[in-house]
Structures are given as C-alpha cells and as structure tokens.
C-alpha cells in the first residue's frame, strides 16, 4: 500500500464500492453491473460495439456486449475490476463501483491518448457501514460552490447550516443540530483546529482548494479527539503531497471585487518523501453599500495564507509521517463608507472596525504499523498554534492571543481477534489566552491531561459498535469522565440503524465565540457565579441520537433515504442572552436547555447523470433565560434544502459540462426582543421566511483546464435593515448583530482551474 491515508478517507472514497461489496455479499442475490461499450474512432465520434468481451479481472465470469453495445454481468466481489476487450482496440480495466457503469469508451490500438473512463462515486457519501452517522464530502462536492474557504464549502450540504453572524463583518457561522459552532469539534486531519480564539473567523482560514474531503459526524463524536464536542465533529482532510496534482492553479473574481488566488505545487523528493507548497491569497477592495445604510455590506479584506507540507511513507518498514507549517495573515476593515482608519479610528467622525489576525500553525504526525501484525499500530500527533487577533469595533477594543500545544498518542490493536479492536492513548492540551476587552484584561492558562480507551466490535455481519471512555484532568474543569457510545445494526437489505449517546464538556470562551457583540452598543453583563472561567461554570451536555438509512436500487440507480433525530440536553450551559437590546448577558443555566433536531434526506439519480438531493429539517431549540423559556433566536424551526446536479458524459478529451443549482428555504426565525427600543428601532418578533438560490456552471475544456461561472443569492433576497440604528452608530441603540438573511444580493463570479 503506497498511500497511507487515514482510514476515514479511504472509507469515504470507497464507501459506495464497499456498499456494493458488502451489500452484495450479505444479501443481494442478483447484483449486476451493466454498461455500454463504445468505440472511439480517430474522428472522436463514438459508436457502440457488439461482441466486445467483458470479464472480471482474475475471475472467470464473462459476457459479451449485444448489438447495442450493452452488457450485463453479475458482480464479482473477488475481482472488483472489469476488463473490456475488443479486437484492434486497447483493453480497458475499470473499477466496478456502481451498478451502471454508463458509457465505456474503447480506443483503437494505435491511439496515443490515454483511455478515459470516469470513475464515479457520489461526491456526498452516506455510509451504511460506518458505526457513526458520518457524511463524507469530497472535493468534487466542494467544487459545486464557489467555495473560497471552509465556511463556504457547506453551502451545498444539508447536514450543516450556514448562518451569517453579523451585518458588519459578514462572517459565516455554521450550526449543527441547532447549536452554534462552539459546540462542534473542528479537526484538521484529526487534530483539533478551530477552537477558542479562532471560533468566529477560523472557518475562513482554511482555503477550499486545499481541502481533499470533509467528514461530518453528527452527534457524540469519538473520544480520541477530546471531550469538547457536543453536537458533532467536522474533520477536514487536506490534499496530500503524494496524491495531489503536481500543479494546481485557481483564480476567482466576483462582481463585488473579491479576488482569490490558489496555487498548489507538489513534488516527490524521494520515493518516500514528498513536499507540497500551497498558497492562497484573497482581496476585496470595492466599497459596497447596496442597501444604502451608509455601512459597507461586506468588509474590505486581504488574506495571505501559506502552507508547506511534508509527507513521508515507508510501507516496507511501516512508518508514515506528516509535517506541516502554516502561516496566515488576515486583515478586514468595515464600518461606514467614509471611514478611514488612520483618521477616524476611535473618533465619532465615522464608525469603523478593523480585525487583523496573524496565525502560525505547526503540526506533525508520526505513525507506525507493525509489519508482522497488520492490525497493530501507533501514532503520535503534535501541534502548536499561535493565534493573534487585534481588533476594534467603533470604540470597543477586542484583542485576543491564544497559544496552544496539543499532543495525542494513540495505540491501536486487537483483543483476541480483529473482531474486537481497541484504540487507547493519552493526550495533553495547553492553552494560554491573553484577552483585552475594552480596558479589561482577561488572561488565563488552561491545561488538561487525559487518557482514553475506545473499543470497536464488528461481528462481520450485522452488528458493530464503538464504545469509548476518557478521563481528563483539567485545571478549570477538574477531573471528569467522558463516555461515548455508537451502535450500528443492519436491519435488512441495505438498511442500517444507528444510535449514539455521549457527553461533552467545555469552557465557554464567551467573547471569542460571540465577537459580533462588539459591533453593537450593547453593554456586556456577566453574572458571576464564582466559576473558573470569566466567573462562569463550564458547559456540560448529553447528546443522544438515532438514525436510519436505507439504500435502494430503483431502475438500476441508487436511491438513499435517511432520517435522523438528535437531542442535546444541557446540564449546565453558559447562556448567551440577547433579549435586552441594551445589553448582552452571560450567565449559567438555571432551568432547561435543549436542542431537538430532526432531518430527512432523499438522494436519487433521476436520469443518467442528473441527481437530486432534498432535505427537510426541523429544529426545536429552547433555553431557559432569566425572563423565561424561549426559542433560540435566529434559529428557523423549518428548513428545506434541494440540490440538482447535472453532468454531461465526459468526452475522451476530458470535455464536460457540469450544472449545479441549490435552493435553501428557511422558515421564520424568532428575533431577539427589541420592544424596549424606540419605535423606528424595533424589529418584528419573527423574521419572514425566505429562499436563497445558488447556481453554477462548469465547463471542463480538458483534463487540465476548466472554467466556472456562478451566482449566489441569484433571487436577490436580502434583509432590509440589517443594522439597527445604522444612522446613529454611536448612539445607544446601534446593533448589527440581528442578521437573519443575506446582506449581499446577486453575487456573480467567474473562475478557472488549471491542473497538471
């Protein structure tokens, strides 16, 4: 095995394939693979060929194509690869990863061009066999959106909700199971990444083009990555020097003068060592104010982001390793149109804001697989981060610096046999925070050391489960245990049911997580209860979930139906109370707080190469505030999502058209109470429901070059007055935090990708 990719990636890529394998092995009696064989003559025209021989590699099953070039062959798990041969044409070997292989094109013996057979796995994978409820998104899915960074890569994905945090910075926040991103664990290659200081802007620090795939796990995650995750885990795998393209170049521009540049270069230093150099830059220079409130609708921005990766693999001796260094500098300026930082900063000439961040990440991973014991391995992960943000919003100053060290050592082995596997290890985390909130200094050092054990049972048939337990000692959270359990059971043919339960515990970084509060005149009110962090006690919640997935073959195409229900119940929470328009209050929960989430998904390929995805979500998120139990503000109860995707058959030269359209519909959202404001500054109790449509067309000219053109919010829905009291930014009613809809209408972009 040349590529030592984490198992989850391998799983992601081959889930469909696995599905075929195991599905057919278990139950399906007559799984057949079909396709049509065409010949490509020298004029690049295609015609079906009859009598072409189809057989499985290393297997004796064979058939021939009929007069229309069609064939139908029973699936062979043993072989997995189909060989197509025809006299005077070159043989072709294809990985049979779906029941209908579609057009297979054979090239004349003399043709010099490479055979092009498209291997198609659905870019959004929902596994039947993974114990946890995981959706894997690969980079093709991310190409469906303009996808400038991680926060935008969820726009075509219904498992995650994308919200805009405030009308001033326009930072996109994501939610899962009705809970904000602090309750999610973000990992980059299975190491915690966006946490603490980077909670609000961190998603925009990972360029989309660096991401190879994303794994979204709903509900209680694994104990391997710590105790903090409550509603789920989002892991992003970056491209890897050994497997990535040699050279990749992407440029992007939109009608609001946002420009992006992404380039990647990879080279193999030796057959065991490869390195990659990735650079991302973005720039927004135009001042946009479409809604006429005298405030920029989107900030002026500049970012430079650089990464150098080293990958080492030595399969003979079982060693693998990664070393990464990433440096980022990000600058944003926003506020009133005529705000000039040098002249107007901290004056009442004009309201303005600047957020400047620099960040250094160093990380490494070393893994060893025992050559004689294929089931036994160990790995060590180490990371150091220095995050430094200096910012002001009007007269409010907010600086935060966080230095973190993370180490995790994992040992994998078996108990008795490979039916019983376990992972165990120890981890250590250190965080030093230096915060300046207006004139107030908040410095703190957190450290924790923990040990974990996770047991996996798989009876090679219907039942598998993962049970994990960790014990941690934290200087503020004290000593506590974190249990997590996941069970999967195959009910019947191609159906599985999963259940999960687990507990998470965390410190709330109240300022970093709610930074939008500074872009308002709200007074900060912390109700000290002698807790260890800002005078507040830590948050603890249990999460329970159940999900059901059924895959079907209808007219030889896969249909996936799935439904899940999750409940998160807080035993303690740092409540963020926006209900008084004059202030924002933080206090520990006194009463009930829960988030219920129900989701139903449907995926089907309607006709060849036209697939549809539709999702309905229902949320019931309530918290007991000081003035009673209320729905969580800015949280729609109903959401609907639909995505249509059409691709033409890829031509021998790589030419292809791809079309993609996404609709998001959001129901009414409760708005924070503004009834004590003067009448012009009062908002309704609920926002209207609305839809946003995004669409994109990609033209692939060759395997090396493609052009894309798209629009976001092409139906031009925007929030009328996103900023309360925008005419009086230094008055007591100014508030930019109540954002329930997009602020920019009709963003149109064009971009190109070049790769060799």
């Amino acid at each position: 095995m040349k590529q030592h990719q984490p198992t989850i990636i391998v799983l992601g890529r081959f889930l469909f394939f696995l599905f075929l394998v195991v599905g057919s092995k278990n139950v399906n009696a007559q799984l057949k693979i079909k396709g049509t064989v065409y010949a490509n003559n020298n004029n690049n025209t295609l015609f079906p060929i009859s009598g072409a021989k189809i057989h499985w590699l290393n297997d004796n099953i064979s058939t021939i194509t009929d007069s229309d070039g069609d064939f139908n062959i029973p699936y062979s798990k043993a072989s997995k690869k189909i060989v197509i041969s025809y006299t005077d044409f070159r043989n072709d070997t294809i990985l049979a990863n779906r029941p209908n292989l579609g057009k297979i094109i054979l090239f004349p013996e003399i043709a010099l061009e490479a055979v092009v057979v498209e291997e198609r796995v659905n870019p959004l994978q929902r596994s039947l066999f993974e114990v946890q409820n995981v959706v894997t998104v690969d980079n093709r899915e991310m190409l469906k959106a303009a996808c400038c960074n991680l926060s935008e890569s969820f726009e075509t994905n219904p498992a995650v909700d994308v919200n805009i945090s405030d009308a001033v910075t326009g930072a996109k926040q994501i939610q899962m199971l009705g809970l904000n991103s602090p309750y999610l664990l973000f990992t980059q290659e299975n190491m915690p990444s966006i946490r603490g200081a980077s909670q609000i802007y961190g998603l925009s620090f990972i360029p989309g083009s660096w991401i190879e795939s994303i794994q979204i796990t709903k509900g209680a995650g694994s104990v391997l990555n710590g105790y903090e995750s409550i509603s789920g885990q989002i892991n992003s795998e970056l491209v890897k020097p050994f497997t990535d393209k040699n050279l990749f170049l992407n440029v992007y521009a939109n009608n609001y003068a946002r420009f992006e540049l992404n380039s990647r270069y990879n080279t193999e230093v030796t057959d065991k060592l490869a390195t990659g150099l990735y650079i991302h830059g973005n720039l927004r220079t135009a001042k946009v104010d479409e809604n006429g409130d005298n405030f920029l609708d989107t900030p002026l921005a500049r970012q430079i982001n650089f990464m150098n990766r080293w990958q080492y693999t030595d399969p003979e001796n079982g060693w693998v390793g990664f070393f990464n260094i990433q440096y980022l500098k990000d600058e944003k300026q926003t506020g009133e149109l005529d705000f000039v930082p040098k002249e107007d900063k901290f004056t009442t000439n004009a309201w303005g804001s600047e957020v400047n961040t620099s960040r250094l990440d160093l990380s490494s991973k070393i893994g060893y697989v025992f050559p004689d014991l294929p089931y036994q391995s160990f790995g060590v992960q180490m990371a150091y981060t220095d995050h430094d943000q200096n910012s002001y919003y009007g007269f409010n100053t907010y600086d935060i610096q966080q230095r973190s060290i993370y180490t995790n050592a994992i040992f994998n082995s078996i108990i008795g046999s490979t039916q019983h596997k376990y992972k165990t290890g120890i981890s250590f985390t250190y965080d030093a925070f230096n915060e300046l909130v207006n004139q107030q200094i908040y410095d703190r050092k957190d450290n924790s050391v923990g040990a974990f054990f996770e047991y996996t049972y798989n009876n090679l048939d219907k039942l598998s489960l993962v049970a994990g337990l960790r014990i941690d000692n934290h200087n503020r959270l004290h000593t506590f245990i974190t249990p997590r359990l996941h069970i999967r059971y195959a009910l019947w043919d191609k159906a599985s049911i999963r259940a999960s339960a687990g507990r998470g515990k965390r410190n709330a970084n109240i300022f970093a997580e709610n930074q939008q509060l500074f872009a308002s005149s709200r007074q900060i009110n912390i109700e000290n209860n002698n807790g260890n962090t800002y005078g507040l006690s830590p948050e603890t919640a249990w999460n329970y979930g159940i999900s059901f997935t059924q895959k079907l073959y209808l007219w030889n195409r896969t249909m996936v139906l799935s439904a899940d229900f999750y409940q998160t119940r807080f035993t303690d929470q740092v409540v963020v109370d926006w209900e008084n328009p004059r202030e924002i209050s933080f206090y520990n929960l006194n009463g009930n707080s829960f988030a219920n989430s129900f989701q139903f998904d449907f995926t089907y390929e309607i006709i060849q190469n036209l697939s549809v995805r539709a999702t309905y979500k229902n949320y019931n998120v309530k918290t007991h505030y000081n003035n009673g139990e209320l729905e969580k503000p800015l949280q729609p109860e109903h959401r609907f999502f639909a995505n249509l995707n059409f691709e033409t058959v890829k031509q021998p030269t790589g030419k292809q058209w791809r079309f993609d359209a996404t609709l998001h519909w959001q129901g009414a959202q409760r708005l924070p109470n503004t009834s004590s404001n003067p009448l012009p500054y009062q908002l309704k109790a609920f926002s209207p429901s609305y839809s946003v449509i995004n669409a994109q067309i990609t033209r692939v000219f060759s395997n090396k070059f493609e052009l894309y053109l798209g629009g976001e919010n092409i139906n031009n829905y925007t929030q009328n007055n996103p900023i309360v009291a925008s005419n009086d930014p230094f008055g007591e009613y100014f508030d930019s935090t109540i954002t329930y809809a997009p602020i920019l209408s009709g963003i149109y972009y064009i971009g190109m990708r070049f790769k060799i």
């Binding site: 099953i61 029973p74 014991l373």
Partner: protein, 118 residues
C-alpha cells in the same frame, strides 16, 4: 536508566522470541469466490486464538495470525472444514459441503465458471 533499557528489551523481546503468540501461517484453502472468502475468514477468526484471517481469492491462500498457546493449526483447519472448505489435511464433510451455495461448490471444476452472485 541502563537497567531499565535492559529490562524493557527483555520484556519486549520475550513475545517475539517465543514466536508462539503471533504465529503467522499461510496455507491453501479450497474455494471459489467472495462468498467463500467471507465464510472462510469468518470460520477462521471465530476460532479462539486466531487474531487475523485473510483469504486471497486468486491464489486460494489463507493467511492467519494466531496465538499458538490457545489453538493450533489443526483447530483452524477443522473449523474451516466444518464450514465446508477443504484444506490439505481436512476434507469437509459432505453435508457441510453440500449445504454451500451452488457457485461455491469448488470440488466441481466447472463451478468456478458459474456466475458468482449470491
């Protein structure tokens, strides 16, 4: 420190030197297809002491790693024969063999040419 290293070396080398805890064996098991593969591997892994089992379809070889203190090769071969698959030493009883699906009836040389669907 030096003593510690010596002790660790001794402790760690014991299981390796004894060669019985993780004994690797490779032998031929008759069979045809992916269904056979699953049946053979499951029969082997369920023998107490077998830690790892992998049957290669093209060359019909089963690789196992087992704890020789808990079982021996005969136990594994018997279990495989019980599941209907022949090895050099043990031939599957007719009733277990005959209960295999038609495409898995490997004693018939023609069976390998059958459609190996399930």
């Amino acid at each position: 420190m030096k003593q510690l290293i010596i002790i660790l070396t001794i402790v760690m080398s014991v299981p390796l030197a004894a060669q019985d805890k993780n004994k690797k064996e490779v032998f031929t098991v008759s069979g045809n297809c992916a269904m056979c593969q699953k049946r053979i591997e499951k029969a082997a892994i369920e023998v107490k002491g077998v830690k790892y089992a992998s049957w290669d379809i093209p060359n019909k070889e089963l690789t196992i790693i087992m704890d020789e203190r808990k079982c021996n090769l005969d136990d594994v071969k018997k279990a495989i024969a019980h599941a209907g698959h022949d090895t050099e030493l043990y031939t599957a009883a007719d009733d277990s063999y005959n209960s295999l699906p038609p495409c898995c009836l490997y004693r018939d040389p023609e069976s390998i040419k059958m459609e190996h669907h399930k």
